[in-house]
Amino acid sequence: MLSYIIRRLMYAVPIIIGVNVLTALLFFRVNTPDDMARKILGEKFVTPAAVENWKKDHGYDLPAFINTDEHGAGIVTQTIFFQKSAPLLWFDFGRSDRNNIDIGREIRGRMWASLAIGLPTFIFAIIINLFLAMILAYLRGTLLDTWGLFICVIMMSISILFYIIGGQFFLGKALRLLPISGYDTGLHSIKFLILPVIVALIGSTGAGVRFYRTVFLEETGRDYIRTARAKGLGESRVLFKHALKNAMIPVLTNVVVSIPFLFYGSLIMESFFSIPGLGSFTIDAIQAQDFAIVRSMVYLGSILYIIGLILTDISYTLVDPRVVFD
């Protein structure tokens, strides 16, 4: 098991380096520092001198990958890639292009707000979706199941924007139960979190219930379920004991991979509800054309995804005794 985890982490090293190089290509080659400078300084009234100045100030006046003017290690180190992109490997995110803020510190400060929405949404979504899906699976073939499915399809067909605006209008404006948007520190934040969590739950229920129901129904058709019924077990025990643990295997793939992303925040939710998390941080950076921040967030997303996949594989061993790593 330990050897498996070590091997997986070692596999992750070349992938992370590859991701780093690819993001660098995307941000320094496809989109050159000259373009960046022009966009930040404003497309009009830009003199070549101003561009050069900006590049010099922000450290983009070096060659992208290889510096032929230097000797020895300098050929590699005196480049934009080495100065700007390589430090990401040891999580040194550098400073933003526009306001010269410390990106790493900003991320560490903001991720808790993202987690404050992400974690309750994640936990409640699993509980609610599994519960509703099991009820539908229990009622399979009946009119209630058909109607439940119908409502799921309608719920997943409606845009999340509708739920956000609808929620803000009814619960915030019309009924004045909850603040429309905003954030506060510590426990005071709870009243600001309820609405976004409810909206996010409603937005994910349709697709989630439908997926889990399919997983359950697939399990209820298996031979071992027939054996369990032949033993004389009641239908609820068949479903909640025998089918549930087996159904957890495909459910885990879907769920565990997203655990690292709980810190990452949601672009739409955070910008609509003015939550100062990483999602709104990214949106603001995109709007401000701050490529240093966008690059850091893209890279961070890839890392979190790799971590999520490793966690998924490890979590299999917890529910499926057939999976043994060596």
């Binding site: 031979d223 071992y224 027939r226 032949a230 033993k231 004389g232 077990l233 529910v319 499926d320």
Partner: protein
């Protein structure tokens, strides 16, 4: 207490389907006594499994209608409320299934799954249930029952899992055990153990057994009474010895004569014309009418009842029941008793003489062939060893002859077949086709050889691409292996082979799912024949088929061999098929050939221990 455990009276189970009401079980009645085995035999779709599921009442889904009475120890159980039915299930009636590999829940321990029934039905506490489960596990011959108790199903072999299933089914000491194809997925040597175990526990615990199977030899050796099912009904019901010594119903007779074996060598097997009618549209009269060799004018109009026969001279008393007008005195003396067809059904036809004298020439010579699969371990996945699936085998296939490669699952016979065709690269050794070494050939040279060497696979359901029409499936092989042929020639070739396998040109633009299992295997054969091969590997080609369909396919393979002088390598676990079709046989065990020679020699005078064990495990039928 009466010795009668189960009585089923006029059981009917209907399913609502898109094509109408499917009468899967349509008026079945029988009784089972204490400590005895009642076997239901028949081909797939005859309703035997549905009968079993109706008795244990596991068909509660919507769209199912059940009628008739089921008495357990004299009391009616079919109209009980669901909670009481649950108390019977797993307690008074329990069931084991065909697939031991999937019938146990993979994520719970064996112990957990056995004790579940004990705590539920017997009210035992955890410790008592554990003791009971462990003693049951030792009763099914586990040497270390405590270890098995804490183990997970995936760590056990198929035979061990079936023993766990038996332990689980018998732990509450039920009155009736239903065994639905309990050994079909297992090797013969394990089949013998499992059946022996079931018989032993049956007399020990006084359990009645309802054995559901398609294997007639298994029935002959294990059942007391047999019911033969056809199209949702019992057509014959008799004590086992009587049924096999003196079968009465034309269907029973046909079924027994389509079993391959030594006695049928050199003859075509008996086949039944046509196919089993769909459960939604049975014939109005006798359900075997239209296929029956002894059909009479009135058969299609009136349905015969299952009665003791009265008309024959040698009366066997009241023990044998047949549903056939031939044994109905009143019917036979009536005007409708004239035979519909001339009785052309005497002894089965001998095979036509072979086109060329076989055996003179060596087609394929395999020497010291090895297939090793690497085992990788550790952080860097280094190769730490090999699974020696095929470990140095020598085989010789002669022209126009059939060499059978027999062995149990996991012995390496399928790996050997694939390696001979170079579908897997060998780890060593040589394969010579007509004197040419093919293991070292490049892709292009190999392509020319591939047209001469073809393969037919076991599973007719999954080995044909469901998205391609039959003509495209067959043409694909011709196009790739014989690039010299143009479109017209290819199409002519497709029509020709489809005609040869008895499917006709209509089959060309249909999809695989429109065909039955036997027809699909014909498509597989047509696909192999289309490139005019000299050598065909049949990898368990008839194992998934019903006996009567298997007989048709074996006949077809025989006829094709004699017509074109093709050599077969027949990979199989079925020794009856080997005795019937093969000229030579090689017995494979743990990647090695332990014995080979002419079929008569090996079957009559086996020398290797494993061959002896294998041969003695096969249930025999009376001659």
């Amino acid at each position: 207490m009466s010795s009668q455990v189960l009585e089923v009276k006029n059981l009917k189970t209907y399913f609502k389907t898109g094509e109408g009401l499917a009468r899967a079980v349509d008026g079945v009645s029988f009784k089972i006594e204490r400590s005895s085995t009642f076997a239901l035999v028949g081909e797939s779709g005859c309703g035997k499994s549905v009968t079993a599921l109706s008795i244990i009442q596991l068909l509660s889904a919507s769209g199912v209608e059940t009628h008739g009475d089921i008495f357990l120890n004299g009391s009616e159980i079919s109209n009980l409320p669901e909670a009481e039915k649950r108390h019977i299930r797993g307690n008074r009636i329990s069931m084991i299934f065909q697939e031991p590999m999937t019938s146990l829940n993979p994520v719970f321990t064996i112990g957990n799954q056995i004790t579940e029934a004990l705590t539920l039905h017997q009210g035992l506490n955890k410790a008592e249930a554990k003791n009971a489960a462990i003693s049951m596990l030792s009763q099914v011959k586990f040497t270390d029952p405590e270890a098995i108790f804490n183990d997970y199903p995936h760590r056990l072999s198929g035979g061990m899992r079936q023993r766990v299933m038996i332990a689980m089914a018998l732990c509450c000491k039920p009155d009736l055990l239903i065994a639905d194809e309990p050994t079909t997925a297992l090797d013969v040597t394990i089949q013998k153990d499992i059946m022996g175990l079931m018989n032993e526990l049956k007399s020990e615990l006084g359990t009645a057994v309802l054995l559901i199977t398609h294997n007639l030899a298994l029935v002959y050796n294990n059942a007391d009474t047999v019911g033969v099912m056809y199209a949702g009904r019992l057509v014959e019901l008799a004590p086992a010895r009587l049924l096999f010594s003196n079968p009465q119903h034309p269907y029973t007779i046909k079924l027994m004569r389509s079993i391959p074996g030594a006695a049928r060598r050199g003859h075509l097997l008996d086949t039944i014309k046509g196919a089993v009618p769909a459960a939604t549209s049975y014939p109005k009269g006798c359900r075997f009418s239209g296929r029956c060799p002894r059909e009479m004018e009135g058969c299609a109009a009136t349905e015969p009842a299952l009665t003791t026969k009265k008309s024959t001279a040698n009366d066997y008393g009241s023990k044998q029941f047949v549903a056939c007008h031939l044994y109905d005195l009143a019917f036979m003396s009536g005007a409708k008793a004239r035979p519909l067809r001339a009785a052309a059904d005497g002894e089965s036809k001998a095979l036509p003489t072979k086109a060329a004298a076989p055996g003179s020439e060596t087609i394929v010579k395999i020497s010291n062939l090895k297939t090793w699969y690497p085992i990788r371990k550790g952080i860097f996945k280094k190769i730490r060893g090999y699974v020696r699936a095929v470990d140095g085998i020598d085989l010789t296939v002669r022209s126009g002859q059939t060499l059978a490669l027999v062995g149990e699952s996991g012995c390496g016979k399928t790996s050997a077949g694939k390696t001979i065709l170079q579908l897997i690269k060998p780890a060593g050794g040589s394969v010579c086709f007509r004197g040419q070494e093919i293991t070292a050939m490049g892709t292009r040279e190999l392509k020319q050889i591939r047209a001469k060497m073809q393969i037919i696979f076991q599973d007719p359901y999954s080995s044909l691409n469901p998205r391609l029409m039959v003509k495209d499936i067959i043409e694909e092989g011709i196009r790739s292996l014989l690039p010299g042929l143009n479109k017209v020639e290819r199409q002519r070739r497709v029509a020709e082979v489809l005609d040869l396998v008895g499917l006709g040109p209509k089959a060309m633009s249909r999809y695989p799912h429109e065909f039955s299992g036997g027809q699909r295997q014909r498509i597989g054969i047509a696909r192999a024949l289309a490139v005019r091969p000299e050598f065909i590997i049949c990898d368990e080609a008839v194992s998934a088929l019903d006996v009567s369909v298997q007989a048709q396919i074996l006949n077809l393979l025989k006829i094709i061999q004699d017509k074109f002088g093709i050599s077969y390598l027949f990979i199989t676990h079925d020794l009856g098929v080997v005795e019937y079709i093969a000229d030579e046989v090689a017995v494979m065990y743990n990647g090695k050939i332990v014995e080979r020679g002419a079929v008569e020699d090996i079957f009559n005078r086996p020398t290797h221990e494993y061959t002896k064990k294998l041969l003695s495990a096969v249930p025999a039928l009376p001659e």
